[in-house]
């Protein structure tokens, strides 16, 4: 492997990991509060489309990003009404949203851009500090990134601090483990869960917007290609812990990036094995074969005050 290949591999791995770092970190917090958003993929897809559309219309990827977060928050709010207030089955709602998101974005894309549009969309520039680029291997890998990659890493730290060192974080953990006891201790279970789902929505919005205006500078139908499911998988493999979830996201990103490296190095490893690797690892983790992974006790269980 040449130095340039290694730099490209590291850079593309980090780039592929960034959307799932955003979405996975938000989802981790929401699941710690007991709400599983299977709709993560749909939220990301809607955000990717909204960011692309707004950026294309206004010429500003930053406005695109903000609008995408706002729309994703709105979707997350509806999801919270359904899965927290109406106590709907969180899986059903999630799957419903994903179907709806695929349908709505595909329909609008075809109506607005036409089925075969190859328009490039204004996107975020890559950070190009000369002093950074001078570092061998790591420099060229890092200059392939936009500022959003660093925002993602920052948000992991913020989420970790929130979860472990604030009273809100304590409430989140209490609500996800034993909502009844949390309620008796005076915590507003419903409110905490709403906030957690909205947080997941905002971060999924960032992740989705990154895919269209931070990475590829285009929108394609169904472009998330299951990134939301991969983020949920990272949360599981990461054992519902912020740093381990980050590690899982990076691992999955690099595993995906390997598929570009393998042909370049003339190795004979089937790409599909790399594609299934994250899911096999997560499966082993929840089965207790590799590492340990215990889900929050009240995950997917709705809460209703005993009357």
């Amino acid at each position: 492997m040449t130095e340039a290949q290694l730099a490209f591999f590291l850079g593309s791995g980090l780039r592929l990991a960034t959307p799932i770092i955003f979405a996975g970190t938000g989802e981790m917090l929401s699941e710690r509060a007991g709400v599983l958003n299977l709709s993560l993929d749909g939220m990301m897809l809607i955000a990717a489309f909204t960011a692309a559309l707004t950026s294309w219309a206004t010429g500003s990827p930053a406005i695109g990003l903000l609008v995408a977060i706002a729309v994703s928050l709105a979707v997350a709010y509806v999801q919270a009404v359904l899965s927290v207030t109406l106590q709907a089955n969180q899986l059903v709602v999630g799957i419903g949203f994903n179907i709806l998101a695929l349908g709505a974005t595909t329909f609008l894309y075809r109506e607005i851009f036409g089925p075969l549009s190859r328009d490039t969309i204004p996107g975020f520039a890559q950070l190009n500090f000369p002093w950074l680029a001078a570092i061998p291997v790591i420099g060229p890998a890092l200059t392939q990134q936009t500022a959003l990659a660093y925002v993602g890493l920052l948000l992991v730290a913020v989420t970790w601090l929130t979860l472990n060192f604030t009273s809100f974080g304590l409430s989140v953990r209490a609500v996800g483990e034993d909502p009844r006891a949390a309620d008796e201790a005076g915590i507003n279970v419903i409110k905490v869960r709403y906030l957690a789902v909205l947080y997941a929505g905002a971060l999924a919005g960032l992740g989705g917007a990154f895919m269209s205006v931070g990475d590829s500078n285009t929108f394609t139908e169904g472009m998330t290609r299951g990134a939301g499911y991969l983020a949920i998988t990272a949360v599981i493999f990461g054992g519902w812990d912020p740093w381990r979830t980050l590690a899982a996201c990076l691992l999955f990103g690099f595993a995906t990036a390997l598929q570009f490296l393998i042909p370049a190095m003339n190795l004979d490893i089937p790409v599909s094995l790399l594609l299934m690797l994250p899911y096999v690892l997560a499966l082993l983790a929840i089965a207790g074969v590799a590492g340990r992974s215990r889900q929050p006790a009240a995950l997917t269980l709705p809460f209703e005050r005993a009357s």
Binding site: A88, V92, G96, L100, L283
Partner: protein
């Protein structure tokens, strides 16, 4: 403790005596909510079509033509419904034990993959219809193994089956991709550079016989009979058999069920294997009945659609059939609508998503009515 005594005890403990009070308001809601949700979603769909400027009558005419405009289209719609019915039946079977199998897509994918492998390698020369029966059974068995893995994990290690079946789906899809990419597996020999990554066509003998061979235009095959048989068996087992009662007991309370002499571990594994097996059967039927060769995306969301059908049926086998017919015909109609009237088929996805969300969101009201 004797078996029958244990069961009587179990049924007493869970109030499963077969009599249910005040079913009528709940029952009418059970039918009314999906019907109303479908109507609302379709109206929204029509409004969306109208907003594109396409004349509604053109879109509806094209839609109708795609669903039921010819013997071919009716047959194709019913064939779609067959696969959805099988996955949906699998879902409600496991769900009777309070197990949520969301991995229909993966079980369907491995079922289709193994059915193709069997049809290409060995089954063609078998006599007496075994040429297609064996691949069918092998496909179902592969799905059963895929579902059974989740059952074993649940029974042995308490692993949440929702998560494991979802993960197993994302393991299965790349497996199918691999099988059609690799020349050592199922990929057809490369004849030129443009050879697509897909399997060769399966031999004539391994294809499912048509139901009306004299009528060349109808694609209806014996998969319909398989689905009807599966429907009757699942309905009878769930409604009348002691097995259905045991499943329900395990679903209500594992510890109490065990106390009543029910082996909950093996029951969970069997329930997941049967559920997965029905998914695998659906995949095998899709290959052997219609597609005739394997591609990496042959499952194309049928497993997820079937899951939705199962969810919407609220555990009723008849509900599964109705949901499968609805989704099967919607899918067929949307394809023609896109080709003839140039309305994106995605409108139907929007309607499907809305139906799912509305029904899920109103479940709490149905539940409250039932409790009253």
């Amino acid at each position: 403790m004797s078996r029958s005594h244990a069961l009587r005890l179990a049924s007493k403990e869970f109030g499963l005596t077969g009599k249910r009070g005040h079913v009528f308001p709940a029952l009418s809601l059970q039918i009314g909510v999906p019907v109303a949700a479908t109507a609302v979603a379709l109206l929204i769909g029509l409004a969306i079509i109208a907003s594109t400027g396409t004349p509604l009558e053109d879109a509806i005419a094209a839609f109708w033509d795609g669903m039921a405009g010819s013997a071919f289209n009716v047959g194709a719609s019913i064939n779609r419904a067959v696969s959805l019915t099988l996955v949906g039946l699998g879902f409600i079977f496991a769900n009777r034990a309070n197990l949520t199998n969301v991995g229909g897509e993966g079980q369907l994918a491995v079922g289709g993959m193994f059915a193709t492998a069997m049809a290409l390698h060995g089954a063609a020369a078998l006599p007496l219809g075994l040429a297609f029966l064996v691949p069918l059974i092998v496909g179902a068995a592969a799905g059963a193994v895929w579902g059974g893995i989740a059952g074993v994990l649940k029974a042995g290690r308490g692993t949440n089956e929702v998560i494991s079946t979802l993960l197993l789906t994302f393991v299965a899809l790349p497996l199918v991709y691999w099988s059609v990419q690799s020349l050592h597996l199922l990929r057809k020999p490369l004849t030129d550079l443009s050879s697509l990554p897909e399997s060769p066509e399966i031999p004539e003998a391994t294809r499912l016989p048509l139901l009306f061979p004299s009528n060349q235009t109808s694609p209806l095959h014996i998969g319909l009979l398989v689905a009807i048989a599966a429907l009757i068996i699942v309905a009878v087992v769930l409604q009348r058999g002691s097995f259905g009662l045991k499943l329900r007991a395990v679903g209500f309370n594992q510890i109490a069920a065990r106390r009543a002499g029910i082996r909950s571990g093996s029951l969970i594994i069997i329930a997941m294997a049967v559920s997965g097996g029905l998914g695998g059967l659906a995949g095998a039927i899709m290959i052997l009945g219609e597609q005739f060769y394997l591609t990496s995306e042959f499952s194309s969301g049928y497993g997820f659609d079937g899951l939705v059908v199962g969810l919407l049926s609220r555990g009723s086998a008849v509900g599964v059939v109705l949901g499968a017919l609805l989704f099967g015909f919607l899918r067929s109609g949307s394809i023609d609508m896109e080709i003839t009237a140039h309305v994106p088929a995605a409108v139907v996805l929007i309607c499907q998503g809305l139906i799912v969300i509305i029904i899920a969101g109103s479940a709490i009201f149905v539940e409250r009515m039932r409790r009253r």
